[in-house]
Symmetry: D2
Subunit: 351 residues, 4 copies
């Protein structure tokens, strides 16, 4: 009911506010006997953490993963696997200004409306730091998916008005944007630096490609593979849309142009993005998500305080001029979580 | 696990193939004491049924709703409310040609891969007829939402290359496209007629606007209101994408342009589409979905048969040249189901 | 949330009141490709139906199972399998007397308190007729369990002060009590006839034995196999207790007497009843349930009416003097449902 | 699917093995705005911890509760509330003897069968230490239940052949058995001391009484209040049975003797134990559970090792001669968890 659990057969429950004691996750349903170390998890968390480049926040957060249960002698036991990341002692007084004012674009107003109470320290539960638990769980899922030959790669396709023109998977982790085209990445970087200088921020489009998924995953009619991926992605902060395969362009096509015909070797095209009728086709799964510009900007903006009185706010501090490169590992993690869950569900269906 | 259940506090489970005995739904968690008749449900089902105009299939399906349980003396009892729609006796021999061949764009191939067995009569469970159960459940939800002052309206925004230029809610039910601009609707109709004559089909973009939702609905971090709407919408056959508020356009905006500032009267803009941090803001909820062109077209297409041998297929029969107007009531139903569920969940949170 | 769904990987949702249009069930998660006919289901339903002997109600209910979806050409398809049993046109005026008065032992008072509205025709949703959906779903589960070599047999162990002294599985279906000892059964029958003549009723103890379950089923720490069986059994109307293996007698034993020691051939005793730590041991699973006497008796009893005024009530009609033999197939069905669900869950765990 | 989550509207997920890093719980769905401190939780944990008397284990475990999230400025925030209890650095070599042998009565064998891997240090996940998370979550639930006037009290009714003859609620926390009759408690203590000297152990019967529950809680037909309590109680280690109200004695009664008649002031008797048709009647809820004798005894017992070879084992160490007094707070916690969940579910039903 309260929405902090994800998945059914591979199920995670996350906890934590940005300035409470810790953030983390319990994963229930991990296949027993998998080799797993804290390093496997740390590797993915390091891709999410702040301070990786000039275009993301220079804040330092330790983000060290500790496994507290579910692993014995280097192997998963099938019991709940708990990962915790302690928060460093932040100075909550740094947030005094936002204590009583709603930051535009942030969830300050809506959290107060929903819960009637709000932990105003650094966005509380609505902080991007919440995704650490997702990434940790995703890292566990990925170990098993890799064993099955499933590869998940996400990257910034578009940002600051620049669109990647090539797809070079090796380039992704080598540029601060995690863009798939090194030239476009360089251009993006320049434009984002200028936007940052103008005390502003920008969003982008992230694309995700998944290869190696066998045909047959997905649970119609409500838990279709694309429906679950959509929920997973839109549940990530800042994501405002998702499209599969041809996506919104499909709305402009004819049936004869859009249908993916087949021959003995499989599908001739992949307008469907690897999912038809909510079930994987065996072709590459492709989707794109729209990321809104970072809400925290240092410009003065109009808002109201908790009493409803008009006020001006400037969200001081060190913000992500573009959050896309830090969302990339979260997108991959959420995709991994959906896939491992559906893999297990398909086995249950046929058991 | 198997995915035919939707919602938690207001939970539906649907059943039925297009050519089995019946389709329908059980709704569990209906508020007791609501006035409800079969007519309330029929009204919504009639908007979904085939044969409403030239651009949709002229097939005749009875689609008569029968309430089998959960209503007593005209009121809901709080026990499971079951609605059944019997299938008319169709001639399955009409489907002999598709028995052994996979229709491009259809779920024939993926269902066989998933289940290892396929009811090939008229798409089986993957038929659009499956949505009748959703619409019936949505009709029940809408009665209660209307009592709360919540209004849900969906319409074709774009099809066949034509985009509505005005928003005239009164026009929607008066044109066969369910478009919100009567002039655009007329143009769409003409273009679709031509596409149909060319043995082809077309998709479109459907927009949905929801007013009257109080601030505070949605369950972070996974069951955010937009995440659940995304899952709900992408679970509808033919939907390939969804975006909220500014949506994919947000990826091109700056933070200062995208953030919705506030004053004493509320939000000055609504780029967020009425949801921030996964929780309703109290502003209008706005989203758009991408609908792919109808997969069934009468042109010959390349495919393979179940043995994997190349074949040609023409999907004979009477198809929807554009499915958008028939998806509109399904979009509204799914939105209603998400909202009533989150309304109840919010009450449980604060109980 | 509302509680009409059972199971996770093999999940049923039931519907129906005794005097509404129908009762039935949707089963989601059925393994595709299983041979299944309406006769397989009918066989089990016939064991539950009224009118089988003098000690149960002579009422005639048709109880004919119709499969409406999820089966194609004699095989399950993996899509929701819906079974419906239409109610015969009963004369609700027969229930006029109970319309305004609460029958002692019945759920009349509690249903009204819970829902604020009550379908008073023949106990409504609280009728034993509700179990028809469970039995139908259980019949499907049993087909698969039998293929795995799992056998489930329940029987009346005790009733009207008589306890079975032998365990003769072949006797069970040959006496109206479904007792495991034909001599005890004959005695029970006589004593129950006398109790019935005295316008009274009686309960009993039902025992269930399950063989062929491999070691390893059950999901600690909350969904332990015994915990789930306990929930399943206590959810059956009239059941007031359950015990596993030595059960309440274990409370009187010492550790050295209760612990089941092992040697190379397995467990030397089975005080645990085949479940330790919530997981099947591979030994026979044994549990017993307490069944209260039928609430409907023809003697005058004190009660109140809906206005809270004292009243006298005699529950006229043809009642089950002892409900045990009709609960036996329900116990078996619920056990089958728990086992098939946990079988599938175990496969998902190890997938 | 994996079974470490309990409840729907008030949902806990526990983690932890006895000798991993920590044990604990995430609670999702906590009503926001409740006053809560670590002391509130510690108070209940202290009742569960070892070392309270001679009849329980003298082991020292710190059992200090740390709240890591979900509380801000002394109030619950409605976001996941995480409580962690670090394990002290135990010497796992103390468990070398049980590493390869299955202790009779313990879950060593079944865990290995289920998961294929086993954390053999101190029972791992099957340790009673797992219940700390339940007690912590229950402590949160109880704060709210107490505000509603609901009182939950459990106590040892029977142990070592002695049955309490009086019900003195004030006596319960004043004797090491947590028995409700101080004289019986003294006798039990003596007899248990003798059993302990004989290197043996004993179980007992725990009774629980809940007052102040309004009529109307429970979700037929599967999530009946008694069914959920049964699952909750049987999920506690060592529990082998449960009965409500008259319980197994009901199997010996007639309908006229068992039915609880009513007059203007309510029920005249309470054979039902406060629940009819799976819904609370407003009367006191009464149930009893059977607790088996502690499995760990210092006598030599026959067993096999992991290779299947016969072996002898003596479970050395400091065991609970009778676990009943330490289970009492767990019973209360689980009851509280069921009640708060159903309270919230009932609000959702009527929302």
């Amino acid at each position: 009911m309260a929405g902090n659990t994800f998945g059914q057969a591979f199920r995670l429950t996350t906890f934590g506010e940005s300035h409470g004691g810790a953030v983390g996750v319990i994963v229930d349903g991990v296949t027993p006997g998998l080799p797993l170390t804290e390093t496997d998890i740390q590797k993915q968390l390091d891709r999410r953490k702040p301070g990786q480049s000039d275009i993301t926040t220079p804040r330092k957060e330790p983000d060290i993963a500790h496994i507290m249960s579910g692993v014995f002698e280097g192997k998963t036991t099938g019991t709940p696997l708990m990962v915790i990341l302690y928060n460093s002692d932040a100075d909550p007084s740094a947030y005094d200004d936002i204590k009583d004012k709603f930051r535009p674009g942030h969830a300050d107003f809506t959290y107060l409306k929903k819960y009637g109470i709000r932990d105003w320290r650094g966005s509380g539960r609505a902080s991007g730091r919440e995704t650490a638990g997702r990434v940790a769980a995703g890292a566990i899922a990925r170990i098993q998916l890799e064993q099955m030959g499933i590869s998940i790669v996400a990257y910034t396709l578009k940002s600051a008005g620049i669109t990647c023109q090539t797809f070079d998977p090796d380039a992704i982790e080598k540029n601060p944007l995690r863009a798939c085209d090194p030239d476009a990445a360089a251009e993006m970087e320049k434009k984002i630096a200028a936007i940052k200088d103008g005390l502003d921020s920008v969003g982008g489009v992230i694309e995700c490609r998944i290869t190696g998924v066998e045909a047959g995953l997905g649970e119609p009619v409500f838990d279709k593979l694309d429906a679950e991926l959509a929920r997973a992605m839109v549940s990530i902060g800042s994501v405002k849309g998702i499209e599969f395969g041809a996506g919104f362009a499909a709305a402009e096509m004819t049936g004869s142009g859009h249908n993916d015909e087949m021959d003995e070797n499989g599908f001739l095209t992949n307008n469907a993005g690897g999912i038809i009728g909510g079930i994987s086709t065996g072709a590459e799964i492709v989707f794109r998500i729209a990321v809104k510009p970072t809400s925290s900007i240092s410009r003065p903006q109009q808002t109201v305080n908790v009493a409803g009185t008009a006020a001006t706010i400037r969200t001081e501090g060190r913000h992500d001029a573009c959050i896309c490169p830090r969302i990339v590992p979260v997108v991959e993690a959420m995709a991994a979580l959906v896939l491992i869950d559906h893999h297990k569900r398909q086995k249950a269906m046929h058991a």
